[in-house]
């Protein structure tokens, strides 16, 4: 009499575990849609220093530009969303001139980046990262990605994908409590 009862209990236990697993799999986000926060957020910004793609300009060093917010934008000239976001960056840089510095990091070489800016406008520092060292330090996966850095050098936020003027305004308002 007891043997079937034990078997029934074991089967019920396995059934419960299976049911919990099914619920977890149904409710959880698909792995492809999950977006993780950057481990850099809340920490001091990694080093960002180097020659600019326009060699008539002096070398850039993020550490030397304290006192203002800085938007660090990683882009490549072959990347379509980078082309789409560029006019938004130009507008943001113009309207927030003096309050927020913009710096771009060119991920595919100085010459294409120079041509990109000549064609599309934008008058801010563009650092050459042809060897990928800066992108790796900043944990960049694929362009475009942007980071908002506080005046004290802390990384406040990471934006994956293209930015918009409105999105940047909202982000700035959120971090400044405005």
């Amino acid at each position: 009499v007891k043997r079937p009862r034990t078997a029934l209990l074991a089967a019920a236990g396995i059934g419960v575990v299976m049911a919990v697993l099914v619920v977890v799999l149904v409710v959880a986000d698909p792995a492809t849609e999950r977006r993780s926060e950057s481990p850099l957020v809340g920490k001091p910004a990694p080093e960002l220093a180097g020659a600019q793609v326009d060699d008539t300009r002096p070398s850039y060093d993020l550490a030397a530009t304290d006192g203002r917010f800085t938007l660090v934008n990683f882009f490549a000239t072959w990347c379509f969303p980078c082309k789409v976001e560029h006019p938004e960056l130009v507008r943001f840089a113009e309207e927030y001139d003096g309050a927020v510095d913009v710096v771009s990091v060119a991920m595919d070489g100085a010459e294409p980046a120079r041509a990109f800016f000549d064609e599309r406008g934008g008058d801010w520092p563009v650092v050459d990262d042809d060897d990928g060292a800066i992108s790796i330090r900043w944990g960049v996966l694929a362009p475009p990605e942007s980071f908002l850095v506080a005046p004290d050098g802390t990384v406040l936020s990471k934006i994956t994908g293209g930015v918009t003027f409105g999105g940047l305004e909202n982000l700035l308002a959120r971090v400044t409590g405005g």
């Binding site: 007891k2 043997r3 034990t6 074991a10 792995a31 993780s36 950057s38 481990p39 850099l40 920490k43 990694p46 991920m107 060897d131 990928g132 060292a133 992108s135 790796i136 330090r137 900043w138 944990g139 960049v140 996966l141 694929a142």
Partner: protein, 128 residues
């Protein structure tokens, strides 16, 4: 003669202990870079290691590993630097501490629990 044998034995034991406990890394820089890259997951493609992936980010990570090896950094320092940028998820082998340690603890706990349940069930069946 016997003393000589003992002395020889002591030398052999001491030598074996020294050899066994000395940290010798005889790998070339390229082998070290390969080993480190094999232990890291490509953060963009996920299913491949940094060593095997052809994604841009994996290629850049391999170059960064080579640069850091040339700068004299240890394997742990290099992995720590990349984890600081990309997060713990790029490490192929889960950490033995924090929540990730559950990956190691849970299977063992399940095995022990299962064996205990089986032993309990067999004993009850035998007694009936």
């Amino acid at each position: 003669m016997r003393r000589l044998v003992w002395a020889l034995l002591a030398v052999v034991v001491a030598g074996a202990l020294w050899y066994g406990t000395t940290d010798r890394d005889e790998r070339t820089a390229s082998e070290r870079a390969d080993d480190i890259a094999a232990d890291l997951r490509c953060p963009f493609c996920r299913s491949e290691s940094v060593r095997d992936s052809q994604a841009d980010v994996a290629q850049n990570m391999r170059a960064e590993i080579a640069r850091r090896i040339a700068d004299g950094e240890s394997d742990d320092e290099i992995v720590d630097a990349l984890v600081a940028s990309y997060g713990e998820t790029i490490v192929m082998t889960p950490s033995g501490s924090g929540t990730a340690s559950l990956v190691w603890v849970l299977p063992v706990a399940a095995l022990v629990g299962g064996l205990a349940a089986l032993a309990f069930a067999f004993r009850r069946w035998r007694s009936t």
